[in-house]
Symmetry: C2
């Protein structure tokens, strides 16, 4: 197989990374995509760095066996905790979601005051703060807030429920006082409830969807390495480590289009 | 050490099993208790039987090293999926929560129509239905319903929040039409939000708190084996596999009394 024709591997702890898959598929419809949702171990956001790194390496090795030309870590927690180790051990380029999100936020903010929401581990890692500092020579205020219930709410499929809006108010109302004009959705599950988050934050705050940001980064990296595929539409293959039927149902709602099947793939 | 003086081991995926610890401590204040909360792997309720059995065996072996005289599986998911294997491999008596809960429900129901709520795995296992059938010669209607968000809501500490009440309504309103006069709280996390569940179900439905039921079973089993400890107050030792400071904070709220410390204990 020509390297260009190889698929892009994408993984997440669950269905959240499908927002990244959707953004990549829209931007580069000719690319073939292989997705792995680690539903047996979701959520990653409350687990230790060692555990998340172990899961991430196992999945990445599986994707390499599927002959991917690049791996997108479509999970902020794994990007924050495991990216370096993945880059050390995996023989294809590995792209995380933190830097593209941070870059988009720097571009969006007018008052250099950025807020970021994510899982406990992502926020406590300080990864977004570090990325903003690395990517801009100007000083930015960066306020982080963990919203642990958003992942289970999205995985439950309660995307339009009053419960989720109430949870969003509970978490985000205190954040509105920090003066940020830009909010990074620092977890790939969050774009699924972007409208609700926007409703709570109000029109004065720009939301940075890391899914969009990462699709841009992937395109740029593929171009730079001469790996961009053109021509007819690429395929999508999806694996989940638990309950593929449920995954397929939720995935259909996120992607808007039904697809053939989700294959169960467990390790050990 | 005299066998009678040995502690009782109790474990759960997180803080939920503390409702069992509390019930045992109230009923038998002289017993010493060792608790393990597997916060690194919570929730168990969406994981495969193999994974839950592996975690349960690892924890049980750790408790055996702490010289416990009995192990209480204070987690419905682990009781439903791993109890047989635990009894096969662990050299002290192992007590699950399913049978005591089922027995209490059979005693409570007037119309032989029982509902049970729990995690996806507990409900899908059909363990409560099987236990009711095993324990009673009379026919009972048993309706199961999974409430996956209750565990994350309790672990987040949102016990009195409007969000949780709304989630309870979302799950339980459809259950009210099944005609059950008794509802088993088939997850040790649920007694923490018992008042809210009762509010939604209304006064016509008896709630069976498996924590109370299991404390009775433990007392009976200790008496039968001559292992009941009497005399001065027993100690409580708590281990958690992730974030012990957070565990201690939440545990204090459940137990009502502060305690010295929670020790971090990780495996592999």
């Amino acid at each position: 197989m020509d390297n260009t024709d190889k698929p892009i591997g994408i993984f997440d702890s669950g269905i959240g990374g499908l927002t990244v898959l959707r953004a990549i598929a829209r931007k580069m419809p000719s690319e073939s995509l292989v997705y792995f949702g680690d539903t047996a171990h979701v959520p990653y956001g409350s687990k230790s760095a060692e555990t998340v790194t172990h899961y991430s390496l196992t999945i990445a090795r599986f994707l390499v066996k599927q002959k991917v030309k690049m791996i997108v870590v479509a999970c902020n927690t794994a990007s924050a905790l495991a990216l370096e180790e993945l880059r050390r051990q995996i023989p294809v380029p590995v792209i995380g979601v933190i830097e593209p999100g941070a870059a988009a936020a720097i571009k969006a903010t007018r008052n250099r005051n950025i807020a970021v929401i994510g899982t406990e581990k992502t926020i406590n890692s300080g990864a977004y703060k570090a990325a903003v500092r690395k990517l801009s020579r100007q000083r930015h205020e960066v306020t982080g807030l963990a919203c642990p219930l958003f992942v289970p709410l999205v995985e439950e499929g309660w995307w339009k429920k009053e419960v989720t809006l109430l949870a969003a108010r509970e978490y985000l109302n205190p954040l509105k006082t920090c003066g940020a004009d830009t909010l990074i959705l620092g977890c790939t599950h969050y774009p699924v409830i972007k409208d609700m988050i926007g409703k709570v934050m109000g029109p004065g705050v720009s939301l940075v969807d890391s899914a969009e940001a990462i699709a841009g980064e992937v395109e740029w990296r593929l171009e730079a390495q001469g790996l961009r595929r053109r021509g007819r539409k690429g395929g999508v293959e999806i694996f989940a480590s638990d309950d593929p039927a449920r995954f397929r149902r939720l995935a259909k709602n996120i992607l808007g289009t039904p697809f053939k099947e989700v294959t169960l793939k467990t390790f050990d």
